[in-house]
Amino acid sequence: MISFIVLMSIVICFSAILALALNFQWGLGGMVNFGLAGLYALGAYACALLMLKGGFNTFFATIGAMVIVGVISGLVAFVTLRVAEEDYFAIVTLGVGEMLRLVALNEDWLTRGALGLSGIPRPFGELVPAEYYAYFMLAISAMLVAATVWFLNRVARSPFGRIMRAVREDDVVAATLGKYVLWARVRIFAIGGALIGLAGSLHAFYYQYIDPTQFSTIVIAYAFMAVIAGGRGAHAGTIIGAAVVMVLLEGSRFAKDIIPWLDSDQLSAIRIIIIGVGLILLLIFRPQGFLREYRLQVELK
């Protein structure tokens, strides 16, 4: 049971980073990312391939994955937002995500297609004894979550954070005030992309095996659910949101013992239905989520 909790905490950690990335792009930046699953896959594959084919060590492979996903995200934002608005951006991200997933599925020479990549090395895998590795991984993941939150808080409170919120609330006003809206959006999307790459790398380290089915659209549903439940723009809320969503999901595995007449396809379908309904209900009844965005407060005397 203890080991189950530890393993689940690791899953929560990298889901939280993914949700934080989405929260940064959507909650703070006001740009939806429907290609999240594909970009997440790109992060995991980039990290794994840099190690397996490129001979990088785990640290540089993670950095590499972050750079790759960040650059691709920035490019997508640049090409689309240069001319069009959010509506089109959502469609393009959806398409790019799907395309990335197809590349993972079809380029056998690189990704081994549906077979997936196995034998992915872990950070300090040889140094840390196997029985303690889960604890070690949890420590690293938790530290990375803390670092991510620290970084995002810094960004949110910096001048750039104020530009982000201005662009989100009203880009025309922001542009009128002389802010370079396109460049701000590209940066937001690229930073978010780098975090998606980090989450993808942790995913690869944790499972040590990746295949395209791990990155289906369900990932998008979970991440959006975590962000909405936590409160758009609120970092702590997003982490709690991710934790609650993952606990519900992993916990529903035990539902199989209670309702044995459903097969696993049906159970996963029910899970996604619940997520989808929850998403819509939260949007309608509690759009601000359960925690609120950081606001600068000044003491008045």
Binding site: V83, D87, V92, E98, A269, I273, I275, I280
Partner: protein, 286 residues
Amino acid sequence: MLQTAFNGIVTGIIMTLPALAITLLFGVLKFPNFAVGAMMTVAAYMAFALNAGLGWPLTVATVTVAVVFGGICIVIDWLTFRPLRERGGITLMVASLGLGFVLENLARLAYGNTARSFAMELARPFRFFDIRMNREQMITIVVSTLAMLAMYVLLTKMPIGRAMRAVADNPSLALVRGIESPRIIRWTWFIAGMLLAVGGVLIGMDRAIEPLMGSSYVISVFAAAILGGLGSPLGAFIGALVIGIVSEMSTLVIPPNYRIGIPLCVIALILIFRPQGLFGQAYIRK
């Protein structure tokens, strides 16, 4: 070559109905609805239940489902999108994504992941010179053409169609002329639901009925609607044909697995060179 072009035309014609539905919904509601794929899937499964389950002829099943599904769409809109109407496009898009998950998985819950097909007796393909044409393709062409003609008459000749276009153009101006947008929104959903239902059945006939059948078309259909200029019905028709032909022809050059890349490239090119689409009107924000 000729055969591929013909298949492309049929693929395009299959997409005309959903593309038209998207464009109508976007025109009136002003957000891209990502649930359309899942809606087609659900409608196709409903037709499958009547056709294969109860043994109804496919024609009767399709007409029934089209009408019922139009009604279902009104209910869905009332439950999910109506409360969010004032919240802006991004919230509505995310809600439509959630709705898509729900609908797709309701179908999966009921029928599992196995691919199914309608109960139709097999027929020999016809031959026209060098082009092979099977019966499903002929049905597709005839049904879609009839539906497009009906839509043309509806939008140009009938009061409700004119009212829809008026609301799409300028809701407040339409209100001044006594056109209530809630009523028009209901009608738009009803018509879009019928189009999606027929589109779903045609896709199910062309390929197979499985949970992802509708969503696999979403990007192509959006590309078609954007190419034609979101909100322009004629544009949606022509956009669908172009996307269909280009996607099928592209398989001669690139691996078929990456067909989805074509609509994506088309979207990128339009956004760069002609953001309002071929038949849309350029407009200035604010």
